[in-house]
């Protein structure tokens, strides 16, 4: 099963891309994402998951709220986030908690990292804050930032991928 936030990321990336339709099948589970067409199709999958899918979809689609409605059918598509990237060697830096994502130490300072920057294991890449508790997130791998998946000031979920790093 894909996690909710992974589906959310998937939707966002597809939404930003030029792909109109995305389908993924694995082990009897299907995920179908379509743009520019208002349809939410029912899933033909295992009964336990049928109930789950529509519930999971509604709150996800809402915050994205672009004029491009997305239909999600099912889950299970591990490495589809960045269509442009060959994902096999990409390390995901995930948020260890729910909170606000800050790209820089203070609003008037430069971002910790930008796309293309080299990072080492202990490089600080961002801050996640909740209830005035500030958590400086480290890269945890040596490599290069190839994608920043969230916006400054955005609320991020537990386990949500924040950066893709091409590990060395």
């Amino acid at each position: 099963m894909l996690k909710i936030q992974e589906i959310r990321e998937l939707i966002k990336l597809i939404d930003k891309s030029s792909i109109d339709e995305f389908k993924y099948e694995n082990d009897g589970e299907t995920i179908l994402l379509k743009k520019n067409e208002v349809t939410v199709q029912a899933a033909e999958v295992a009964p336990t998951q049928v109930a789950l899918a529509p519930q999971a979809v509604a709150p996800i689609a809402a915050p994205v709220a672009q004029p491009a409605p997305v239909a999600v059918q099912k889950t299970e598509a591990p490495q589809v986030e960045a269509p442009a990237q060959n994902d096999a060697n990409l390390h995901k830096i995930e948020s260890p908690m729910v909170g606000t994502f800050y790209a820089s130490p203070t609003p008037d300072q430069a971002a910790y990292v930008a796309k293309g920057d080299k990072v080492s294991k202990d490089s600080i890449v961002c801050i996640v804050e909740a209830m005035k508790l500030f958590n400086e997130i480290e890269a945890e791998v040596n490599g290069e930032i190839v994608e920043i998946l969230v916006e400054n000031g955005q609320l991020v979920e537990y386990g949500q991928p924040l950066f893709l790093v091409k590990a060395e």
């Binding site: 260890p96 909170g99 609003p107 209830m131 005035k132 508790l133 958590n135 400086e136 480290e138 000031g153």
Partner: protein, 333 residues
Amino acid sequence: MGETMEGKSMRQHLLQLLMEQRGSFVSGQEISDELGCSRTAIWKHISELRKEGYVIDAVQRKGYQLMYAPNRVTEPEIKRHLQSTVLAKHIRYEESVKSTQEIAQRLSYEHCPEGTLVIADEQTGGRGRLGRSWQSPKGSGIWMSLILRPDIPLQKSPQLTLLAAVSVAKAIYKTTGMQAEIKWPNDILLNGKKAVGILTELQAESDRIHAVIIGIGINVNVAETEFDPSLRDIATSLKIEGNEDVNRAKLVACIMEEMETLYHEYLQNGFGLIKLLWEGYAESIGKRIRVRTLHEQKEGIAKGITEEGVLLLEDDLGEIHHIYSADIEIPGT
């Protein structure tokens, strides 16, 4: 300045000795045995303590007696009042530092024990949320950072900031009788003005907590004129509101005791009781508030907090928003 660490720690040791035997004389011989230094050295340290404001009687053949201790937050002053077993067992006192958080961060990396407290008489670069500065004038506040190493899931760690706020509010009540209020998540207000700010930093590796460093700034005996004019409408101190000096060391000790009790409760039974207590002190539950985040602001009624400590805001359309980080204002104030 230029004084060796050894000299400082010897003076603290001497002070501790005098405090333990307050009300009676401590002989020069006893001090010299305890500290392992000469009578001349003792005399030098006594003079230094007098310069710091201590009144010490010296009588031939009887020794030294502490008559008066100034309102300070040194280790012996705090320990005199302290009964907690883990928190503030180790105290690092500094006259003047940029930020106690920075020192605590470093000590934590150097594997200092849980409960280590860093406290300073003055901060020259104290800071708040989003890099805002925090005024920390000399001699009149409590500027401190406490290092905890809780064995809890990382995503629960923000709850500790609410726990800290409850501890401080309780200690203020016990020490001064003043009823403080908490503004979500952890600002402490007296008569609607901010008297305490709490900022917490996490040291973690992926999802494992190394340390939670709770920075607490309290305007204790800060005079109104010491505040920047731009802050006078929104900031206050315990002294301004209560019209009397508060013993800072006693308040620190009281906070540590309150926090130790709640921290044990939290580790054993979770957030339930802390939530109840927090709600008891909450300023804005049921009221109309404005929530300001980096990019937007929302207005609505503060409905309460979740079992995780997250603020629930009901907007005018009846939709409930979960607020994880924001500045809270009460419109019209």
